[in-house]
Subunit: 417 residues, 2 copies
């Protein structure tokens, strides 16, 4: 409890400023509580557009919003830059890399990280794409590969430099492969006068028999068709076994020479989840009760990608709408607890799902409704713009998207570091 | 010579895609020559706005333009990513980190780097600001310092974290100090609810008795007055002796506790200039003749910040207008040489100089004309926009400047890496 004007107010600590955590903190703004937001980055990241940074459509600043800017006018919300290292739940304390913080209520919304499923060689040599830094690293690497290819006279080595493999047929893999195709065949083909960009080979590798498993079959089929029209080599039922940085080996024994493997095949909860002392699922997510609390810790809530919530016999997917809906119920339940009212049980309302495949092409579905092509892409664009934090960011993103749409250029195409 | 349609065309190699090199290459576009642009970065950098990246006004992509994008429609101009390591001038060959390139004409326009005047401790512990990466490093560091201060309970340590020292009273130092002042006192003061940003101390250190030495006295005075109004502690006739990363020592013996020293006190030619085998000045610049050639190497030209050109008994300053005017004469002289015509001698026409001190405040002069305040700032803004490469970049920069002007915010305020 902190003391303001001699009145003790509950101190709510929110760990993670993603979609879930940011919404929790915003809901407590100007209420009769003190809030501390803890994050290892000083910005809220709009993760669904990471693939656009990695393919030079947008600049990193356009999908990152300073956390403190959310709370400029809300003096009861503070920010603490640091990473949670451990918990002392009995003493209601979190231990961070930059100091300890005590709480009355703790909301854990620290999200997920890339899951390599124990494949060490793949983890060491392929690229993850869950953080802003990782997406910048991919951008620099991809641009460097094409530059190296433009100087390479050995055709086998050149082919290896120009082979880009995305692993995982979920939205991230599909979007990355589609965007890479446009970067290579529309934008860069015009600018390498001494290199034939038709030598580029973009592969999308999926272990199961389908891409975008949450979509109905007709949209899955149209997605594969669109990707293939964009010259993406879509491989279903293909499992990665090994990758040494130069050669990617599938379970079938096939070997693909490539310097670029982008791993979007799975996520798991952030490792810190394991230190909360509660039961976890196979993806390391903490299993929460119907009120989103840890069992036996009524003052500790967990939401979003790091939480396992069972609904209709299945855990909910790790997607933004689950996190934001949980944030609302979490805030409600903390207020209820403070005032001695009964809490609400959480129930996820499906908002549908969508994925963009490229310029003017997307798929979306909700219940029995389904769209593809330009109308789905237009809806995708509107929805993402409405969700992007911050007015200014929207304006430049709109401009950049319009500009990219009509001009076949990508101005974010710079190699830093 | 390369062979196109069995006709040998002269091969012109341009090293460096700054203001000088980019203009040379652009002037040869679609002419009857082959051009290779060599640069260690894949982008042209708008150096005059580096200070805006370092203070989170603009994002890095807004002042960096992909070199290949300049030559998309000009198939006779190619780009080679690499850094020149050595020369074999007798065999008309440059040796780069990514392969050797032969030329018929060589234009060296590789620019300048930071000059620490042999002060090792200063070089190791302070921040230079000549490259895009360096300006991003400064941005990350400055933002981290304020975050660390917000968690620091020891007031002496906090003071050290919040002391920012710019060394060098030229345009870069003045602009950096003014922009830091606005970042701290206008933007960040609103967002740190538990930190008094009045504890911030920004110092501008200059060894001589004046800032902006190219300006008339009245503008120099108004610059110092404006900076002091912005709470910048301007120190003239103050020499830096030593800096260990925590304490900055002046020649007077005074010690300033600070974690941030931004060094903008001098430039010297890039080190590769020393390998050209010709006479150099104290700043390592190669001494060129009146046609901008190396003495005894009529096929090798040097222009811009790495070249020493004597005019009216004094070497020209290392500023963009010198480089671009030299680029035009260099191109003319190469064409003249190819056609057996006499070359032109170079003469720099003064275009005046300007520096911005902050929002709505700048100084500019040309000949006997001089302006300060809002009108100079407005002119500064227009001129920089007109020069910024690429239409799209202009639009977002204009929007961002307008937005920053009216809203006291800076959206580039993210810590990467």
């Amino acid at each position: 409890m902190s003391t303001v004007n001699n009145v003790k107010r509950p101190h709510i600590v929110v760990v993670g400023a993603g979609f879930g955590g940011a919404k929790v903190a915003q809901s407590f703004a100007d209420k009769n509580v003190d809030v501390t937001v803890v994050d290892r980055h000083n910005f809220h990241l709009f993760q669904p557009l990471l693939y656009q940074v990695s393919t030079a459509c947008l600049s990193p600043e356009e999908i990152a919003y300073p956390i403190r800017a959310f709370f400029r006018k809300h003096k009861n919300v503070n920010f603490h830059l640091g990473e949670v290292e451990d918990f002392d739940l009995d003493n209601k304390t979190i231990i961070t890399t930059t100091g300890n913080i005590t709480y009355d209520y703790l909301v854990m919304a620290a999200g997920a990280t890339t899951n390599f499923f124990g494949m060490k060689t793949v983890e060491e040599n392929s690229f993850a794409m869950k953080t802003l830094d990782e997406s910048i690293i991919i951008r620099n690497h991809v641009l460097n590969m094409v530059e190296a290819a433009s100087r390479e006279t050995d055709s086998e080595k050149r082919k290896q430099l120009l082979t880009f493999v995305c692993v995982g047929g979920g939205p991230t893999g599909v979007e990355e492969a589609g965007s890479l195709s446009e970067l290579m065949y529309n934008v860069m083909r015009q600018e390498y006068h001494n290199l034939d960009l038709n030598e580029v080979d973009i592969k999308l590798i999926e272990a199961t028999d389908k891409v975008l498993p949450m979509m109905p079959e007709s949209l899955r089929d149209s997605t594969v068709k669109t990707l293939r029209r964009k010259k993406v080599d879509v491989r279903l039922e293909t499992q990665v076994m090994d990758y040494d940085g130069n050669f990617l080996t599938f379970k079938s024994g096939e070997v693909v020479p490539t310097k670029t493997v982008i791993w979007a095949a799975g996520v798991k909860a952030v490792p810190i989840a394991a230190k909360m002392g509660v039961e976890m699922d196979r993806a390391g997510r903490v299993i929460i009760n119907e009120y989103l609390q840890l069992p036996n810790r009524p003052e500790v809530f967990a939401i979003g990608d790091m939480a396992h919530f069972l609904q209709d016999g299945r855990p909910l997917a790790t997607i933004a709408p689950v996190a934001t809906q949980q944030a609302a119920v979490c805030v409600n339940n903390i207020f209820s607890d403070m005032s001695g009212q009964p809490m609400k049980t959480f129930h996820y309302e499906d908002v549908g799902s969508m994925a963009t495949i490229g310029r003017g092409d997307a798929v979306m579905c909700k219940g029995s409704m389904k769209f593809d092509g330009f109308i789905a892409w237009f809806a995708w664009m509107l929805i993402h713009l409405l969700r992007l934090a911050g007015f200014h960011t929207n304006v430049t993103v709109v401009l950049k998207w319009i500009w990219n749409y009509f001009s076949d250029t990508r101005l974010g195409r710079i190699i830093t570091r």
